[in-house]
């Protein structure tokens, strides 16, 4: 992240902030979309988060901490702006029909659907840790720092999220194997 860009935006330079938005928006959108599982909602959350970042930039004492600071604002916006009933909006998956389907394709789609359902059952705070760690590639200490929580809490949330997803995945595979007669 360009420190000078952050400092100029912090001083009220709207052109600098525009450059900053172009640099970070895709990353932030990707995180919001994965946490919320709703692209439309993620757009709203991202918009709110970016305006909040603009408003509160003067409070950022260390420009080098911009990314972690922005992640926290984004995750808080996910918590604040996601009405409960929208967390379970269904996502219609368009299946490709112009290529030959085989067992691996069906298994892959089945796995993703199972993980999608299991992920949607996770609380938002577990989803946030899971996405920041596994998608954004942040070490748990950095995730904890970004979210303002103890490292042990971040580790615990990741543990519960992973365990729930794995249990759903294994149970789904067992059901698939049973249907296909692969289990004794």
């Amino acid at each position: 992240m360009d420190r000078d860009l952050v400092e100029r935006a912090r001083s009220g330079d709207q052109a600098a902030f525009e450059d900053l938005v172009h640099q970070v928006s895709d990353t932030l959108f990707g995180i919001a979309r994965r946490i919320l599982r709703d692209p439309g909602l993620a757009e709203d959350v991202l918009q709110n988060a970016l305006v909040t970042i603009w408003r509160k930039l003067p409070h950022l004492r260390e420009p080098d901490r911009f990314e972690a600071w922005a992640y926290r604002i984004l995750v808080n916006a996910c918590y604040a702006d996601a009405p409960r009933n929208r967390l379970w909006a269904s996502t219609v998956r368009v299946l490709p029909v112009d290529r030959a389907s085989d067992a691996d394709d069906f298994q892959s789609i089945s796995d993703r659907d199972e993980l999608e359902q299991a992920f949607r059952r996770l609380p938002l705070d577990q989803r946030a840790v899971f996405v920041l760690h596994h998608h954004a590639g942040m070490p748990l200490v950095a995730v904890a720092d970004a979210l303002g929580i103890p490292e042990g809490t971040a580790r615990s949330r990741l543990h519960y999220a992973t365990r729930a997803l794995r249990a759903a995945f294994v149970a789904s595979r067992a059901r698939d194997d049973l249907r296909e007669g692969r289990l004794a």
Partner: protein, 315 residues
């Protein structure tokens, strides 16, 4: 089948699914918004490096008082919300929808009452709204809270995680677990019936939680059943399924859960005392669930009762 490898592969595909390109319209909206959105001031008092004369000391003292006053306004004034824009940090100062001095762009709700923020470290005193959404409440619910409350996930808390914690939330309950600790496989089948009495009976019958007999009350202008429920003080969460205790679930499997190692995320604590109000809103069922700890003072409980007394439910 190598479960670990397959799970990691499937998880990677799941997370990589979809495009991350921010829609241009979203960026345009942000850039348009910042043109009329002022940045917040960061008040810093510089260190004094040279000796000051008496008149200068007086001027400096006056400046400190003025700056401290502005800082106090910024900290404790009408817009304390730390998280998101338009998250409802601007309450109406009275039951009538009078605008505040610094209106929040997206705070307006159906009756002009501010939607309760989803996340805030300092909710300003005033009247707030939980809007009808079909997931947590079938009707608009307004309530008035004094100072000292925060919000986590749209639930008002006071002294969160402390010995005197208290909070209240709203639920539409789809089903109940017969055993909140060994909850896997214990969801009632068939699911709990749709009436207030059905739910009251199911909660009273829950294993491992002491429940009072339901009593008839009025909440928000509607008839309700009041039930007291407790979480055993000696409950060992490690003995519960997945290390969590689950009381009920809502449409879409939103659950009330307790993560004992994660106070930020939990819903129930050892020794916690719940008072659930099961409200009949013209045939729709709404649950207002309050909870407090043994250390919550009588004064705080009276404050919670006053909040409940201020509630209005509007289908």
């Amino acid at each position: 089948m190598n479960d670990d490898h397959d799970f990691e592969h499937a998880t990677r595909e799941f997370l990589d699914d979809g495009a991350d390109r921010t829609p241009a319209a979203t960026i345009d909206a942000v850039l348009l918004a910042i043109r009329t959105t002022p940045q917040e001031r960061d008040l810093r008092i510089p260190w004094r490096t040279a000796p000051m004369s008496n008149p200068m000391r007086l001027v400096a003292a006056i400046a400190v008082i003025v700056v401290a006053g502005v800082a106090a306004f910024n900290l404790f004034g009408p817009s304390p919300d730390a998280g998101g824009v338009g998250a409802g940090g601007e309450p109406s100062a009275s039951p009538s929808p009078a605008p505040t001095s610094t209106p929040t762009p997206t705070a307006a709700a159906s009756a002009g009452v501010t939607v309760f923020p989803g996340y805030s470290d300092q909710v300003a005193p005033g009247t707030y709204l939980w809007p009808a959404d079909g997931a947590a409440t079938p009707a608009d619910v307004t309530f008035t809270i004094p100072s000292g409350w925060i919000s986590r996930f749209g639930v008002p808390h006071k002294d969160r995680d402390g010995p005197a914690e208290m909070a209240f939330g709203n639920w539409i309950i789809a089903n109940v677990y017969a055993d909140p600790c060994q909850w896997q496989g214990s969801a009632l089948d068939p699911a709990v019936g749709p009436t207030v009495d059905d739910l009251a009976a199911a909660l009273v019958a829950q294993k491992g939680r002491a429940a009072s007999p339901p009593t008839d009350v009025t909440l928000g202008g509607y008839p309700a059943k009041r039930i007291e429920l407790s979480v055993p003080a000696d409950l060992d969460p490690a003995t519960c399924d997945e290390g969590v205790m689950r009381t009920w679930n809502a449409p879409g499997d939103r659950v009330e859960t307790w993560y004992p190692e994660e106070p930020e995320a939990r819903g129930l604590r050892s020794g916690q005392l719940n008072v659930a109000y099961i409200v009949d809103v013209d045939g729709d069922r709404l649950i207002i669930d309050t909870w407090h700890m043994p250390g919550t003072s009588a004064a705080d409980l009276a404050e919670l009762d006053a909040i409940l007394a201020s509630m209005r439910i509007e289908p």
